[in-house]
Structure formats: C-alpha cells, structure tokens
C-alpha cells in the first residue's frame, strides 16, 4: 500500500508516540467544564450532575472518590498553536502565509477576503496587528454533519474547521491547510450550548491575540511574535443562529433587520415567508419601475 521505504507503526500507541512530540496531539476534554481549576472534580459545580456516565437503575449518588468510568460527554480539541508553529517551520508554507501582502494583485476587484473592506478596516483599527503580514486571520466554519447515513437523527457531530485566509485562494480551502480544531459529538443536538464547547478554542484565540506566541519563521530565518485573529465565521443559517445567539426562526428571522423584518404568514401553506425585498433597492432603481414583471 505504501511506497517503498515507508512503514506504518503497528499499534495506535506507537503512532501516538511519534506524533505527539511533534505537536500533533489532541486532547479529549470531558464536557469542557472540567478544565483548569475544575480538572479533578467529579460533579458539575453548578448543577451537580455526574461527570461520568451513570448506569440505568443505579443511584445517582456517587462517592467523591470511588466512581470512575466512561465520561458522560467528550469533546476532542486539537491544539491549534503547535500546528501554526509547524506551518511556519516550513519555508514554502511560511512564504505562502505572507501572500496577501506580497503577491496579491490589488486592482480593486474582489477575489479574496483580503480585498474586502473589513480586512482594511482591521488594518486601520489595529495598526500594530496589520503591519506584520505574517499575522494570521482565521475563518471558522462549522456545521452539523451526520456520519451515519443521511436521515438518522440520534447522533450528531459538529466539526469545527479553521481556515487561514493569509494563504492564496488556491491553497486556502485545500485539505492540507484547513485545520480541524474541534470535534463535538454526542447523541443530542447542540443548540445554543455550542458556546460551552467552543471555550478552549476561544481561550487559545485570546492568547494568540493578546500575548501572541513566539514562532520561528523558516522563510526569513528569524523568530517573531505571532498574533492571530478570528476574521469571520462561515456556516449555514441554523448554525448561524446557534453561533450568534439570534433566533433565526419565526417572524423575526432576519438578524440584520431584527424587529423590522417583513414577514407574512401563509394561511394555507402554513409557512412564514419573508417578502418586501424591494425596499433594499435604491430610490430610483430601474427595477422599481418593473412592477409588472415581478
């Protein structure tokens, strides 16, 4: 299967032994709450639920010391900082990460998020961040995915992907450069609880913004302080609601118009439709005269 001269480790344990020192480890976190100061707790400090799975029929009361077993909820967090370090350690990749400042065509056309207004506004708002072209701007994408068939609804998994927008558009969305940073799975829908699960990622991002991390750049052969920011999130509409905290259902579904959303409840179709898009046109737009064709 493999080309000559390459071998696969026999056991998962051996594979991990090679991978982990290189920074390719992942962390399984039990229900997120049990981190930092809560690491050794057995129960949720707020609601008192057990950290570990409770068998059916067994009494919920567990000793503080005895009970152990499979955790009730697990999140996989794949550390992002060591991966960013590894990206910069390769000269070619480190060069590509400066692409948006060095090799980008600037002719006013929109090709890449770097041409957008927001990118420039950030440069203006945070001149220290914008000056260093190696500072990363990340996009976060998440969606519910069903690994087992199309319609089974009793299992859901949410991969959280990070995309680096410093890279040229040809590489930006390539599998090699997209980072799976989190894997949230479980039998229940996530809903608004996604906040809790995203905690460790946000902590790392905060560290990357406030303090920064010392990184060696192989292209310039120097080490520098890397900062990174979250540029935007990309998701579908229901996930938009979960991430932003807006309820994207019902009569006020538009998060931009909020309570000025124009809606109509269909009596027979029993659906809510959102009409009145004419009002977004300019006052003398030519479409306004074409009332008949619409």
């Amino acid at each position: 299967m493999l080309p000559k001269g390459n071998t696969l480790p026999n056991q998962n344990y051996e594979a991990k032994k090679i991978r982990c020192p290189m920074g390719m480890e992942y962390r399984k976190i039990h229900c997120i709450l049990y981190r930092n100061e809560y690491e050794d707790l057995r129960r949720c400090p707020k609601c008192g639920l057990s950290r570990y799975k409770v068998k059916v029929g067994q009494n919920d009361e567990i000793d503080e010391f005895t009970k152990e077993g499979p955790p009730a909820k697990v999140v996989w967090y794949l550390l992002i900082i060591p991966r960013l370090k590894r990206l910069f350690a390769k000269a070619n990749d480190a060069k590509n990460l400066r692409w948006h400042a060095d090799n980008r065509k600037c002719d006013g056309l929109l090709r890449h998020p770097a041409d957008s207004l927001q990118w420039k506004n950030i440069d203006k708002e945070f001149p220290k961040f914008g000056k260093e072209s190696r500072n990363l701007r990340l996009g976060l994408g998440t969606d519910r995915m069903n690994p087992f068939g199309n319609l089974s609804s009793n299992y859901s998994s949410w991969p959280v992907l990070l995309v680096i927008y410093n890279l040229p558009p040809a590489l930006c969305m390539k599998l090699k450069y997209m980072m799976l940073s989190m894997m949230i799975y479980g039998p229940k829908k996530l809903g608004n609880n996604i906040n809790v699960y995203l905690n460790p990622l946000i902590e790392d991002l905060k560290l990357l913004w406030n303090g920064g991390v010392d990184v060696f750049d192989a292209f310039k052969n120097e080490s520098f302080r890397l900062h990174a920011m979250l540029f935007c999130t990309i998701n579908d509409f229901p996930a938009y609601g979960n991430l932003s905290g807006y309820s994207v259902k019902g009569h006020r579904a538009c998060p931009v118009c909020e309570d000025k959303t124009s809606y109509k409840q269909l009596k027979h179709g029993r659906k809510t439709v959102y009409l009145g898009h004419h009002r977004f046109l300019k006052k003398y737009h030519s479409y306004r005269r074409l009332r008949k064709s619409f």
């Binding site: 927001q118 920011m229 509409f237």
Partner: protein, 157 residues
Amino acid sequence: MKKKQFVSEIWKKRSIFFYLPYWCKLDVKHCLDVMHIQKNVCDSLIGTLLNIKGKTKDGVNARLDLIKMNIREELAPREVGKRTYLLATCYTLLKKEKTSFCECLKGVKVPQGYSSNVKSLVSMNDLKLIGLKSHDCHVLMQQLLPMAIRGILPKKC
C-alpha cells in the same frame, strides 16, 4: 393573540465570540454558506420545473395563498364538479418538453474536474435529476440551466 416579541427576546444568548477583544469591531461577523443556499434554491427550482412529486413548490396550498394575497388571479384553482384543477402556468412543462430538457442535459459533456458527469445525473425513465452535489448545482445554475431551457421557451416572450 400572541404577544409581540421584543428585540431583547430574540437574542437568546451572548455569543462566546464577544470574549475576543476585537470581535465587536468587526463589520461582518458571521457569513452564510452561499453554496448551501444555492443548492437549496437549485433543488426547489428543478423540483418545480420538472414537477417532481414531493419536491415541487407548486400545489393547491400555494395557489390558495395567491388568492389570499390578491395576486395572479388567473392561477386560482378551478373547481369543476368534485375535482379541483390547477391551471397550467408559464413554468409548467409538457412531457415532450421535459424530455427535451433532460435530453439536452444528457448530451452535455464537461471537461475533467469541472463538475461531475452530468450525463449520469439525469434519469430519463422518470425525468429527474438525481444525486446532485452542491458544486453541480452551482454549475447547473450558472451555465447548464439557461442552455437547457432555451429550447423550450415559448416563441414570443
């Protein structure tokens, strides 16, 4: 009557991203997945055009709602005796037209890596498009659909 929702009630929670110090300075915080939306639009468009059962957006209820909204009176469902008839609209295709639509798509050859083989997506037996991936929907909407409909448009438009 239901109580009117206030703005503070529509926002269910404070997003965790606001813990990032720069988050409130961003102009566009969340983007929508355009390919996903395009796929939905494409699906319902083709469902309505080819009148695929379960996919079409046209039906008795849709027509009744038109009466309610006081638009397009000519499309109102007609009741003759016991039966209700839905009149043909400008997008209703005859079987002959559907066949020519599907045959047109069946004859399309695309370069490698451009989209999936369109020929294999068309099922001539029940005049449907099956197994569209979201990128195929993009190609359909952008290039193939206008070409396929061109043959079946009414002469004078």
